[in-house]
């Protein structure tokens, strides 16, 4: 459903993505793992066009584009069916939780206010934040903010949601509440690409795992297979260190 081919991205002379192929099917949960600095965030940001891409092709549903020569209009069309959950939540600080979830519906999608409100409350209920609807982001814990951010993402009814380390800015005791929400979404068949350091979550929830290092995909496959019998030595080393850390 979403496929990116031969993606290249440099920051100055630093080549961060060296020809990445990435693909995700409808209903699939793909975990992207790898050491820090390997280009995972950049990959998601390129897919969502938050970074300018040097070269690559994207196929998203019916749409097909050369990623390096894409218009702002085409980008908006792609984003219409794509959501992003940021490591640092990025809730609009001038809006309540409810306002955050309603904003895209009302302003971008021109949904009637009352309908948008209903949808938004439903989404907040889904992430267990209905009772905090009138709170501003500053009045919420990190875990609560991230759950609102997820509500904001699913409210757009996207084809795919990209998660960039959604729990790594959180205190350990707050990560579970966010992971629980993501598990629920996965069970409902939501298509998700998740950059994560939560190995247990990746093993349980992801159908497929992509291991990146140094701007290339080193290994990928069904999550059980990659976690239990990694083929590549580098994957094995990374997983051993990750398990030790947990």
């Amino acid at each position: 459903m979403l496929e990116v081919k031969n993606l290249h991205k440099s920051f100055g002379t630093n080549e961060v993505l060296k020809g990445i192929d990435f693909q995700i099917d409808k209903g699939e949960v793909v975990a992207i793992i790898g050491p820090s600095g390997s280009g995972k965030t950049t990959l998601l940001r390129c897919i969502s066009f938050l970074e300018k891409v040097d070269a690559g092709e994207i196929t998203f549903g019916e749409l097909h584009h050369d990623m390096a020569h894409i218009t702002q209009r085409e980008i908006r069309r792609i984003r219409f069916d794509m959501a992003f959950v940021f490591q640092s939540f990025n809730l609009f600080r001038n809006m309540t939780a409810l306002g955050n979830v309603m904003e895209g519906l009302v302003t971008a999608r021109k949904v009637h206010r009352e309908d948008a409100r209903k949808t938004a409350l439903e989404m907040l209920r889904k992430v267990g934040m209905e009772d905090r609807a009138m709170y501003y982001p500053d009045q919420l814990s990190g875990g609560q903010q991230q759950r609102v951010a997820i509500a904001r993402a699913i409210a757009q009814n996207p084809q795919v949601i990209l998660f960039d380390e959604p729990t790594s800015a959180l205190d350990p005791e707050l990560t579970e509440e966010v992971l629980d929400v993501m598990r629920t979404l996965a069970k409902e068949g939501t298509t998700m690409a998740v950059v994560t350091h939560e190995m247990r979550f990746a093993m349980d929830v992801a159908s497929r795992v992509v291991f990146m290092e140094g701007g290339v995909v080193v290994e990928e496959g069904p999550s059980k297979r990659v976690f239990l019998e990694p083929k590549e030595e580098r994957t094995r080393q990374f997983l051993r260190r990750a398990y030790d850390a947990e």
């Binding site: 969502s48 938050l50 908006r76 984003r79 219409f80 794509m82 959501a83 992003f84 940021f86 640092s88 990025n90 809730l91 609009f92 600080r93 001038n94 309540t96 904003e103 895209g104 302003t107 971008a108 999608r109 009772d131 905090r132 609807a133 009138m134 709170y135 501003y136 500053d138 009045q139 951010a149 904001r152 757009q156």
Partner: protein, 231 residues
């Protein structure tokens, strides 16, 4: 103080205060409104990186911050008629003060806008907002409270700078004080009186600023309590 001076001060007080209220304050507010709009536009074309306009904005700011306000005032009131543009004293003053302060307010807005974390813009774009919507719904509402104290300081400076309008025949607070001083030969008393009235005006503005700043912040304790009750 002699009785004569006290008498002059008392009788001149309302004579100075009335043009203060009728001219100085409207002049200040109209000029500020112009400078606010102009500053906003000059800031937005810079952060939005609109090519020709960005260059124009930098040039404008360079010129208006780099030349004296009094000279700008003279160019507009005494100079422009040479080009066939004749303005009354009051609109000429509004134009000069507004255009001058616009350059300063542009910098205030610009630095407030760039202080908004990029993540806010990115989140807005990911939920489908276009650039103008992102500015109006997300960036400016957050930038405004940051800009507010500096904008208000500029407003208070403007209030005092409007006394320069006396030099282009606008009959405002200070012009009136000058006239009475000339008539009574009591410049010290009259100019001090004018100063006291300016001080009163700017003190009122400072109070207004404190009051508004409390209203502006969206994460106040009161709002928290309201949220608590509604929840």
């Amino acid at each position: 103080m002699s009785e004569r001076i006290i008498e002059i001060l008392v009788s001149s007080f309302t004579q100075i205060l009335i043009p203060g209220i009728k001219v100085t304050i409207p002049l200040t507010l109209a000029s500020f409104a112009l400078s606010f709009l102009l500053g906003m536009v000059l800031a937005i074309v810079q952060v939005a990186n609109i090519r020709g306009l960005k260059w124009f904005a930098r040039f404008y700011i360079w010129v208006f911050r780099g030349t004296p306000l009094l000279v700008q005032l003279f160019i507009i009131f005494f100079g422009l008629p040479r080009l066939g543009i004749i303005l009354d004293a009051f609109p000429a003053a509004v134009l000069a003060f507004g255009m001058n302060l616009g350059a300063y307010n542009a910098e205030v807005f610009r630095s407030a806008i760039v202080a908004i974390p990029q993540g806010q813009t990115e989140a807005a774009q990911m939920i489908g907002l276009n650039y103008p919507q992102t500015l109006v719904r997300v960036v400016l509402p957050q930038a405004f409270p940051i800009a507010f104290p500096s904008l208000f300081n500029n407003l208070i400076s403007l209030l005092k700078d409007t006394s320069l309008a006396s030099s282009i025949t606008v009959i405002e607070l200070f012009t009136t004080a000058q006239q009475i001083a000339a008539r009574t030969y009591e410049p010290f008393a009259l100019y001090c009186e004018a100063a006291v009235i300016y001080l009163a005006f700017s003190t009122l503005l400072t109070w207004l600023q404190t009051w508004l700043e409390k209203k502006l912040v969206w994460k106040t304790k009161e709002k928290y309590l309201v949220a608590e009750e509604q929840a």
